[in-house]
């Protein structure tokens, strides 16, 4: 049952990813990305990471996709989609490199963990309480650094905006 659900969702995620990369329209790409992120949220819940599943919906499917859609709306999608002659072999080269990369990772996965499928410990419940306990005790320093990073990003975005206003 869980396996069937996984396979169906994996197919949706794969198709959404391919659609995102190949879509000509940037808005369609953003919507495909939204589908992909939503499927990932379900995966997180299937993997006992309930808190991360909710955060995935709020942060990625909510904030980031909306941000992308705003910017696409402001600058009008595909500007300057001129095909340059330097880029003739890009598709073939990228596809070959991608296939090699997947083969490499697949080989690594097959060699290392195909023999041992047992769960090492009891599955940890990733609820708000457990995540909060870990985040505010063991991982307090990374948490504070992340807050500093968020502050820096916010100040940077606002400063960039004021600089652009000054130039007008």
């Amino acid at each position: 049952m869980a396996l069937l659900l996984f396979l169906a969702l994996a197919l949706v995620a794969l198709l959404a990813a391919v659609g995102m990369v190949t879509s000509r329209n940037a808005v369609h790409s953003a919507l495909f990305m939204l589908v992909n992120f939503a499927v990932y949220a379900i995966f997180y819940i299937m993997l006992n990471a309930q808190f991360l599943g909710v955060v995935q919906v709020i942060v990625y499917a909510g904030a980031i996709v909306v941000l992308f859609l705003f910017v696409v709306m402001l600058i009008g999608g595909e500007i300057g989609a001129v095909r340059s002659s330097l880029r003739r072999y890009t598709y073939a080269a990228a596809l070959i490199l991608g296939a090699l990369f997947v083969a490499m990772i697949g080989l690594g996965i097959a060699q290392t963990i195909s023999t041992d499928q047992t769960v090492a410990g009891a599955p940890a419940a990733g609820g708000v309480e457990a995540i909060g306990m870990a985040l505010f005790t063991t991982y307090l320093l990374p948490f504070e650094l992340a807050s500093l990073l968020l502050l820096a990003g916010m100040v940077g975005g606002v400063a960039r905006r004021y600089k652009a206003l000054d130039e007008d």
Partner: protein, 100 residues
Amino acid sequence: MVPITYYLILSAVIFTIGAVGVLVRRNAIMIFMCIELMLNSVNLTLVAFANQWGNLNGQIFAFIIMAVAAVEVAVGLAIVMAIVRHKDTTNVDEIHLLKW
């Protein structure tokens, strides 16, 4: 229960789709979306391993990655907007100020 190998292979394939997209697409916003795709597939790997080993370290790691990704998108899209105002293009082939 789904074996962890399936999750790893799925996230490897989606990571590669994102990497191919970064190489193929010329629109700066599309490249950002592909980077988000890659970050997400790494998150899936981390959460799958956290479930496999029965501790929360991978989930915390994925949480921090989400925070970094949010900041990266905000700042990156601000930069794209600034470039569009100056050069009127999002094609990365035409944005080569730092390349000689």
